[in-house]
Amino acid sequence: MSRLAVSIKTQSLTLRVDTRAYGAKLLNLRDSRAIVPPPTEPMPERRLQAENLHLWRGDRHVLRGVRLCVNSGECLQITGGNGAGKTTLLRTLSGLMYPEEGTITWGGENIRRDLQAFHADLAYIGHEPPLKPDLTAEENLRYWVGVRRKLATHDMNRELGRLGADQWGNRPIRTLSAGQKRRVALAGLLLIAAPLWLLDEPTTNLDAEGQRLVGTLIEEHLARGGLAVAAIHHELTISPAVIRRLELSSK
């Protein structure tokens, strides 16, 4: 019920992706004018902002002055060749990696000031679905999501059904195919219900229908006022008004 209740979007879209610094260049900046009506009631505005991120791995300068800003209702798609630093950027944004220089702010506050509160607002899925091979899909969700928030069985069944994963809900993860695991992980993502999604290749191993579904899920998330930063190679079927692209170049 709560999912349907929040379909009205009330923020104006003011995504700015500024990558003036050497490493990153911006491609395909489409018209960023919002097509939604002006806000009728105040809704908390969220913003993830990164300023001048520099990160070295050994002697490799992976992030070279990345600046980005994502607001509620917007998706930032990160593209770039292999080794361009997409995963590194996502891990840095999640707070897992510490940039040598630069700051990341969430809602105007440096994420390092209260990392735990920031993480409560965040759902991160790396390129491997974070699932235990020896537990079933349902057990995995129960523990993974349950640590964050109370998980009702009917919610879990609904989201597993949404992802087409309900038939294999009680099979051990190790018996599932890579695409099936991905679907279970995406069900977890929906159940965590965090405002900020950080997704590393969320469509890997999915069939064409699954890839379209990821686009739909992100779009619904944005419509609820969520934010998403996703490293995805292929074109997402998302309204161009809410999606921006940030291309990282490897040299």
Binding site: R46, G95, H119, R224
Partner: protein, 236 residues
């Protein structure tokens, strides 16, 4: 709180409930992978039965070396089990999810360490009297052995959790893990063996047991903090 952006009908999980879930998960996983569970215990049983064969079957001589044998074997077998403490979680990405869960990582890792102790330390304490009997320990001393191994293994699990967390990023971490953990475990070995020795002689073994308890309490208060910091560094 401005989570109304994403409306959810349910509330966040309390720290205690989160820790309970982590504990339950680890125990369930261990029961599905019994091989990993039995390995350190089998090691302990084999090492302690080798000594009567290697030294002499004479009980009076065995009785003299029993405290040392029991504790060195317990120390090494707990070391063997430590490698699995965080490694699987780090490999499949669930440890990362603990870090990003919005819960206190210290608390979650403490829950993991408690699970680890329940699965390795406690069975060791139950097995120690059997091994003690084969080394000629009088029956009256067995309760002392159980208590000292139970308390000592708490300290060993906690000290080991720091080492296991620090060596997460290292391939073939076994040797490094022992180099890091064994020196820190020396006090546990010394007081544990002393308590066992006094118990065998029929003397009061409370003083070394108190010190063992102090080490365990020190571990409970400090080790999870250190392990959480180490996990953060290792995952970077």
């Amino acid at each position: 709180m401005n989570t109304s952006v994403i409306e959810t009908s349910s509330t966040g999980t309390s720290a205690l409930e989160a820790a309970r879930l982590v504990l339950a998960r680890d125990i369930r996983l261990a029961l599905r992978k019994r091989g990993q569970l039995i390995q350190p215990l089998a090691f302990f049983a084999i090492v302690t039965t080798l000594f009567p064969l290697g030294i002499s079957p004479e009980l009076s001589r065995l009785r003299d070396v029993a405290p040392g044998v029991l504790w060195v074997a317990a120390l090494l077998s707990s070391l063997l089990a430590l490698e699995f403490l965080f490694r699987d979680d780090a490999q499949d990405g669930t440890l990362e999810q603990h870090v990003l869960s919005g819960q206190s990582l210290t608390w979650l890792l403490f829950a993991k360490t408690v699970a680890h102790w329940l699965l390795t330390g406690l069975p060791l304490a139950v097995m120690a009297p059997l091994a003690g009997l084969s080394l000629g320990v009088p029956a009256a001393a067995l309760s002392g052995i159980v208590v000292s191994v139970a308390i000592g293994s708490v300290a060993l699990s906690l000290i080991g959790s720091i080492g296991a967390a620090l060596t997460l990023g290292v391939k073939r971490s076994g040797a490094l893990l022992s180099l890091l953990t064994l020196p820190l475990s020396m006090p546990v070995l010394i007081f544990g063996a002393r308590a066992t020795e006094l118990a065998i002689r029929g003397a009061g073994f409370a003083p070394p047991l108190y010190l063992l308890g102090a080490l365990a309490v020190l571990g409970i208060t400090l080790a999870p903090l250190a392990a959480a910091a180490a996990v953060r560094i290792s995952l970077e």
